[in-house]
Each structure stands twice: as structure tokens, then as C-alpha cells.
Symmetry: D2
């Protein structure tokens, strides 16, 4: 199989660095371009990223120059991964989709758009055809596909066989989430060392809404009851990421 | 009001040290005696305890010699606080009650005995008369009174007004508990640093059973449904203890 | 002895909160006024400070309104404690001294001024007369007196008897410093959890220069060799502060 | 090049697990046998080790049965790696060397024996010929070769070029060491969370003696002055191990 060429948007941030780490030595993808905000453009990736992961910076990106987040600068790639912060992701990802790119995004900006598939592939790959509706409605050649929030991804996997076999009436879930999910600089250490913080902004709403969207049909959310409580705990990274 | 003289059993352990810390400068109680296992008997308390709390050792105990856990050695005290480990607490506390002492215990050994009041005083002080039944049945002059598990204590307080006003059908609760609750040496640091441990031995059962006993009548447990999940998190001490 | 009335500048920040905590129930001082930056002025102290210490907010400050950092607003106080960040401390403290206040500052801005006493009182209270020189030279009625950096304070105490008895040729010191010293928001948790950071900006220079100033005469620094290495470690607070 | 077959003694402990992790996918070595104390013998390695590393258990050991620490049970291997605790390592390693095996040990038991090479290969591979003296003196066909203590290994590398170019008069070193070095269960979490422990038993002596042995000739230790201070800090693992 031919390797697919990919670009990472927001590649210098903390989420972007995790994308780079996971794409290194990936059997399907190679990284052809990294893009980030004005502050980093023109620098080499190792300098611009100030690499903060507990593994060495992958060789595949050490020779890449950071490009601006502009479709015409990204060149010939098969897929665009977006690790952009939510406040800029919305507009930027639309421009790439309009320019014909397929954007797979970790940002929350488009997750709840009715014509954007929110995919946890083991569960709802039958939502993929929403892309056709998206292209028709928005008149573009590319597309936006979103993955869920980290906590939603983890919750929905064990719920799936239960939902399939028995249905679900009500979900009550508590999550204990590592600091890496808050990005960088993220959580001040004075707030979290020797502490648990019983609040993560917007997390509980995302957790609830995204779970119902994933378990729904392409056009209608599931309607069981779900109540989430999200806690920040003093860990560096959710174990699940370590083994990805 | 005259100060009440108290003894602390198991005073050198981690729970015993917290008792000593909380009784220091207490408006009702003073510490007249400290007792611990053979290993510590005859040593002065500061040496024997190898004090490990984040506040200095209280002056009230620096001049006390550690006594054996024997009723005839404790002398004239008004109340005996027990911080004994569960595996020795059962027998030892009975001997003190038989010898005429009122034992207030933090150990789990007698909590679920039908004739031992398990008190969270803001909620079920109407269980105190169980003492009379206990004395009658066991033919002793003293008594054993237990406080609940730490997590139960905290859970039952906010549940109480809800239970009183509306009743309760079902409780689902997750607890995130500090390492101090595991005693010393307790949790190995390799297990808990940068980690959350989704298991605390016997904790979930205690949590469930004790909650139902507290909300029951003196002779019959409450019968709502309750499901607890207990997690160990990398904190030193539950905040609630710090401010007690 | 009559209680001395004090004001705390920068009272809402992390260092200011420690000042408030240490002045609570102090045998000599009471807090009459709290001042902070524009953002907090006019709010009550509990709201403005968003209290972050592991002990409850002292009652003595719950009824105080936050004042601006202006001498004419502070009123009749005997001493002004400054917990201002260094970048604003320089000018602000001079204005208070000019207006006749005695300012005792924890900020680094004036520590190395030749006419400002840098006091670790057990060691160099013979530097106090520098105040006269300061008043003469600067033509003001108040004064500025500084305490050293936290690491310098701790180092100089055990060095003092050695210096007095034998003299010192050379000091090599490594410090492991808690996150509270970096203020709030301070160190990002992603940088420090499960890590040690071998760099604290400007800390090694302060450590070296201040130590030599303290061990010198009022007008001339000591001249032994000193080399410091400062490390940030994942602790909340230096133990020394806890017991102050 | 033909792969060398290796056995790991003490393979189920924390140090043994690191050996297994580092030998997995190694270009020169494969693991043919794992041995441990009576408690584990006969169990499969995954059960016996209760794997505690932050990476998945390597496939190369999932099918191995734990053998006793006996030379006649280890079979045909080219090299024996010893991760035994010091108190049993001394005798056990001698039995393997006597039986003809080359033992490369991380234990401290034989490090300071005059006829055992203590190797940091980039620095003192000229100590290897000590093996001949060892075999002659002890009349065995195998050999024991030791690696230094973790802190010594790290210190001696940057000292080596300085020593070679300029010589060394005196070394003063402070180490901040992760909890993994203390084995399992190792450091109680109550002692180390939110704390630094300024003492590691025997560590400073090893640090000093081993450094001088490495920089000496095969038969005589170097004689510069060295003073070490060792601190335990609340980290899981020294970064250096992560990248090995």
C-alpha cells in the first residue's frame, strides 16, 4: 500500500505534538507538512515546537519548516489532521475543506454540526455518508470529519456492546482526566499538584452531547439520559494515549 | 466546662497521629495517655511515632510515654479513642469496653455490629440509645461507638437533607481518595505517582453498607440502592481532614 | 505591647496571600489595609484574592476592601509589607517611602541597592543603620528594607555560625524549590509534574549576590566564592514556609 | 551477526522488568530464560512479574516460564544479566560464574571487589582484562562484570572528558533521583508525595567509591576528592532510563 501524505495543522502545540508522535512510523501515513500560527511560521519544527513529550522528537519532522495555516501553502497531501485550538479551528478547517482537502479534526468546533460525521470508527462508521450531505450542502470538494473528545472516545467504546445488546436508559459517568488534555501552558501547577479539580470547562457538556450523537443515526442523536462529572487529576497523560 | 481526659490507642500509626493532631488544643478533650503495640511501648511518643504529619508534633504529647494496649495501664480517662488497625481493633476494643471504658473507634471492626452505634452525629444521633442494648447484651459497663469510614462520612452529610426531604431511590457515587487513608507504609509510590488506582480493598463494600446503616433506624438499615466506585489518587491528604 | 497596624501591597497574589496567612494572629502586627492592582480595587478581599492556600482565609481580612497601591489611600499604618511583583515593586515602593512609610519588601527590585538593608535579622541586623544613609541620600522620611530571596534566607542561616567561627572560602549549593515560589499561574503543570526543571530564571544570580551582601559589612559585600544551582521540583510549598 | 542468548536473573522485580524492557528488540541480545525467587518459580512471566512498567509487556517474555536461580536450570545462554537484590546477588552470581557463565550484574554486591571490572564502557573498557585475574584467582571459567550504580553511571560520563583533559581535584555532586530506583514496593507514597527526601541509604558511599574505581587504573582507584548528596524526588523514572 502506498503511504498517504498528511499535513498537521497546529503542529507545534501540545495536541499537535501528540499527532506527530502518533504518526511517526505509522503504517499508513507519513507527515509531509506541518503548519502553525504566525509566531512559528518559517522556523524549523524542532525550534518552533519546543518539543515537550517524554519521547524524543521523531526524525520525520526534524527537517520540516513550519508553514502558515493556508490551504495554498500545504501542497499535495492526501489528508489534513487538525490539532488547532477551537477558537481558530472553525474558520481554518472550513477553508481547507473548501480548497478540496479532507480534514480530520480533533478540535471541537465542528463536532456537533449536523452534517459533520463525529466518528469513533468501531462504533459509528455508518455515519461516514454524512460527508456527501456535507459536500452537497456546503458546495465544497473536501470535507471535515471529527473525532470525539478524549473522554467521549473512551466512554463510548465499552458502552457500544451494551447499547447494541440491551439498549441504554441512563448513563452516569465520572472521569478523572490528566493535565495533558488541557494543552500548554494549561493547568497551573499550583492548582493541581496535591489536588483534584472538580471542574473542566465545557467538558461535561461535550461528553454528554457527543456520546448521544455517536450512538444516534446519521441524522438523529440517541435519546438516553446521560450525566457526566469531569475531574482533573495530577497525572501527566492518560494511559490510553501512551499505548496508542 | 471541665476538660475530658482521653487516651489514644494506636497513637503512633498514621491514623493515630491524625487523632493526636485533632485533639491538640481541642476545647473539650485533652490527651492523658497514648498506647501502641509492643514495638513502641516504653518509648517516648516523639521517638515512637516517627511523626510524619505536615505540622509540628503537638507539645501535649511530647512528654508522654507510650503505654501497652491494656485497660489496666491506661488509668483514669473519660474516653478512649481507637486508631487501631482493624485486625487488632476487634478484640482490644472489647477488652476496654468490658473494663468500663467508653471507646470511640475509627476502626471498621465493630462498625456493622447491630448493637454498636455507627454515628455521623449531624445525621443519626438517634442511634445513640443502641448503647443500652449493647451493654445489656454484652454485660459490660463501657461501650463501643464507631465513626464511619472517611468516604461514608463525607457522602452521608450532603445526602442527609435530600433523604429527609425527598427520600432516596438510588445512589451512584465515585470517590477519589488520598493516600493518607491507606496508612503507613500504605500505597507504594511506584503504584500511585503519575497514576490513579481504580481499586481500594473493601472500600466500596464499607461505603455501601455503612451508608445504609446510618440512614436506617437503630435496628434496621435503610434499603435504597447504592453503588460506589473508589479510586486512589496521588494526593497526600483529603482536604476535609486539613480543616478539621 | 500595642499592636502595629500594617498594610499589605500586592495582597491578592500568591506571595501576598502568604503574607496575610503569616500575619493572621501575629503577636505584633495586625492587618489594617490590603492593596492590589487596578483589577482588584474595590472588591472585597475574599473575592479579589480567589484564596488558594491550603488553610482557610483568615477572618481578619474577610471584611477588607482592596485599595489601590497609592500612599494617600493606605491611611494610618505603622508598616507596609510589599508582596508586589518585581516589575512594579521598584517604583511603587519608592513612592511609599517618599510619603513617609516604612516598607518591608519581599520583592527583589531594591535588594541590591547599596543603601537598602537586605536583612536576615539573625545574621546582619548591624546593616539596619543603612536606613539613615538611605534617608539622607534619597531625602525621604520613610524607608525601604528588604528580605532576601527564599533560598538565600535558608542558606545563610546555617552558614552564619560557620562564617563567624572559621570564615568561608567557597560555597557550592544546590537548591530544590517548590512551585509556590513561582507565583500564580507560575509553572505550567505539564512542565513540572513527574519532572525536575534545572533552571529558575535569575534565581542563581540572586542567590549568589544576596548571600555575599548579607555576609558583608553595611557598605561592602563579602568576597568568598559562591556557586548556586537551582532546581524546580514538583512540591507545593517549601516546608519551611509551612511552619513559619 | 548471530543473536546472543541471554538469561535475566531476578526478572520479576522492578529492575528485572527494566532489563526485560531494554532487551526487547535489542539488536544483539534475545531473552531465552527468566529466573526469579521461589515465590515465582513455575509461573508464567506475565503472572509472576505483575508487570508494572508504563509500556506493555514485551511479547518475547509472555511465553516464558520463570525458572529457579540455579545454573543447571538456565540452559545454553551466552550471557546472564543479574537484576537480583543485593542481599542474594553475592552468592548467586558466584555460583553462575563458577558454572561457567558470564554474569553482567546491576547489583552492588561485587562492584567493589578488586578483581571485578566495574564498567562504564565509554570510560574504562581498559578494565576488562581484570576478568583474567578474576578467573585465575577464583579458579572459575565464567566471570562477573558489574555496571555502576545509576547515579555513578550518569555522573562519570560528563566527568570523563574533563578528567582526561585537565584532571580533577575535587567533585561535589547533588543527585535528584526518581522513585523507580528504590525498587518495589520501595518508597512509601506518604513519604515522597509533595516532598523531597534528603537521604538514600548507602547511595552516597556507592556514588563516591564507584566513581573513584571507574576513573582509576584496573588495580588502583583514582584519588581525587568527591562528596555526594543524594535526594529522592517525587518522579517515577529518571529520564535517562526512558530513552535507553
Amino acid at each position: 500500500m502506498k503511504m498517504l501524505k498528511s499535513a498537521v495543522l497546529g503542529a507545534t502545540g501540545n495536541v499537535g505534538q501528540i499527532f506527530v508522535q502518533l504518526l511517526d512510523n505509522h503504517p499508513w501515513f507519513q507527515i509531509s507538512a506541518v503548519a502553525a500560527s504566525e509566531r512559528s511560521v518559517g522556523q524549523m519544527y524542532p525550534e518552533a515546537s519546543r518539543w515537550r513529550q517524554p519521547v524524543p522528537i521523531p526524525e520525520c519532522v526534524t527537517g520540516l519548516e513550519v508553514l502558515p495555516i493556508e490551504p495554498h501553502r500545504i501542497g499535495d497531501v492526501d489528508v489534513v489532521f487538525s490539532a488547532l485550538p477551537s477558537e481558530v479551528a472553525g474558520k481554518a478547517e472550513e477553508k481547507f475543506a473548501e480548497a478540496g482537502y479532507v480534514v480530520v479534526t480533533n478540535a471541537s468546533a465542528h463536532r456537533m454540526d449536523p452534517d459533520v460525521p463525529l466518528l469513533n470508527p468501531e462504533i459509528n462508521c455508518d455515519h461516514v455518508p454524512l460527508i456527501e450531505e456535507q459536500r452537497r450542502r456546503r458546495k465544497w470538494d473536501g470535507a471535515i470529519v471529527a473525532n470525539p473528545n478524549c473522554s467521549t472516545t473512551i466512554l463510548t467504546l465499552p458502552l457500544a456492546p451494551i447499547y447494541g445488546e440491551f439498549g441504554i436508559e441512563r448513563v452516569m459517568v465520572s472521569s478523572m482526566q490528566a493535565i495533558s488534555g488541557a494543552g500548554y501552558p494549561g493547568v497551573p501547577s499550583l492548582d493541581i499538584i496535591d489536588n483534584v479539580i472538580p471542574f473542566i470547562r465545557n467538558e461535561e457538556q461535550k461528553f454528554q452531547n457527543e456520546t448521544l450523537k455517536i450512538f444516534g443515526t446519521p441524522n438523529k442523536a440517541a435519546d438516553f439520559k446521560i450525566s457526566a462529572s469531569c475531574y482533573r487529576v495530577p497525572l501527566w497523560m492518560d494511559i490510553c494515549n501512551l499505548f496508542s
